[in-house]
Amino acid sequence: MGEAIVITSGKGGVGKTTTTANLGTALAILGKRVCLVDTDIGLRNLDVVLGLENRIIYDLVDVVEGRCTVQKALVKDKRFDNHLYLLPAAQTSDKSAVNPEQMKEMIEQLKQEYDYVLIDCPAGIEQGYRNAVAGADEAIVVTTPEVSAVRDADRIIGLLEAEEHVKPPRLIINRIRSNMVKNGDMLDVDEIVMHLSIELLGIIVDDENVIKASNRGEPIVLDPNSKASIAYRNIARRILGESVPLPPLEEEEKGLFSKIRKIFSLK
């Protein structure tokens, strides 16, 4: 019996879909059987980020309305033999095509076969959000270091805490720019965590390569050298229960002089 984790944020454009795609891929690389569910009916794009757009035949609404079985609607990602599947959202209906009870039933069915069911939640707190949360056991809240995103994250955490079937939500802070934080132009991680007072699951630095990779339909975790990739893999390991320390945010100074300075400052 697997776990269903909803990935949500309240505000749009903070990186829910990218996070879902990358965490799902990272968990699949770590050998887990993963199913990604896109609940953004009418505005689907998880399939695009994963590069699976062309293979969609059936979608979530077809399953709910009984036109096909869940198994038949799932799109397999061939890069990770039998480990990563996607249940795409419908593009032709809207959020009201599905209700929370139907979602719950379907997620329950998926949990029987997969270790992790990651649910990509649409922005907002209306029907789409309620559908996405209905079947979830756990929740991950994604935010960026902007006041507006943190405000919405706070709202969504309040709503998630009221859901009795969901464990206390955990936090991912996305798109951190270390130079802006250093200059005091951006909220820093401690400030956000203190404000929201929930467990921090990980932080991801802002990286152009994430956008490039998404546009190519290859999640960034497939690139082993990118900082964002390492951050996503670390988060995946933390989801599995491993204890992985947070790396320091500052860029390591390189060169002999700084090394000498470091030695002296240590004393």
Binding site: R151, D154, R155, I157, G158, E161, H195, L196, S197
Partner: protein
């Protein structure tokens, strides 16, 4: 007490004071007997002229509980006696509902949670919050608000019109403060982070001001209380 007890059981004792008349009503007889006697002694025997000045009457009903309808009936009955009007009705007992309401209004409600954006925490008495109020969150109390955490949202103390209420917080960074019907909002410029407990109250100019917590003992000495205020 019973001056004319030999002739008849007396349920109403009348005493004249400088504030008017005080009527001690027996609390063991039936309500109907009481009404009958008041009618006989006050209404029927009233011999004053119709244009004499009004005399206020204070009723002390002892351990008898009167419903609002019965109180109204009593007032109407006594009013029929031309120059008497009921000023107050005092009883030693209150109904359960009134007692619960009274407790709710005077108790300190302790809550341990974070009031997040979009959430509203509403209590009838004083609020003791062990946690933060985040921006966009609201706390409302009939009495005072004490926050052992950061107040970054909206706090409304004394919402039913109590202007003596205060708001105290370990970190006072509110979006808005409201006490009674007076409102104040945070300045648009950023204030420096002071790590000092502060309190908000209404000053003599009917404005909400934020000041050091230590000043409260002079401003609101009534906050100190060993027994609950009535």
């Amino acid at each position: 007490m019973n001056v004319v007890a030999k002739q008849k059981q007396q349920y109403v004792t009348i005493k004249g004071t400088k504030d008017g008349l005080t009527l001690y009503l027996d609390d063991r007889c039936s309500y109907d007997d009481l009404m009958k006697e008041i009618e006989e002694r006050l209404v029927k025997r009233s011999s004053v002229a119709a244009n004499s000045p009004l005399v206020s009457v204070h009723l002390k009903v002892g351990n008898r509980y009167l419903t609002p309808a019965q109180e109204e009936e009593l007032r109407a009955l006594i009013r029929r006696s031309k120059n008497l009007v009921v000023d107050s009705i005092e009883s030693n007992v209150i109904s359960k509902a009134e007692a619960i309401e009274w407790v709710q209004k005077t108790e300190i409600v302790t809550v341990s949670r974070i009031v997040r954006s979009g959430q509203v925490l509403h209590v009838e008495g004083d609020l003791l919050l062990l946690g933060d109020v985040n921006p966009g969150g609201t706390v409302i109390a009939g009495g005072n608000i004490f926050i052992l955490g950061a107040l970054r949202g909206i706090a409304h103390a004394g919402y039913a019109g109590n202007k003596e209420a205060i708001i105290a917080a370990s970190v006072m960074k509110p979006m808005q403060l409201r006490i009674g019907d007076v409102m104040n909002r945070a300045p648009d410029y950023k204030t420096d982070e002071r790590n000092e407990m502060e309190c908000a109250y209404i000053n003599e100019h009917n404005q909400i001001v934020v000041d050091r917590l230590q000043l409260l003992m002079h401003l609101r000495p009534n906050l100190t209380r060993l027994e609950r205020r009535m």
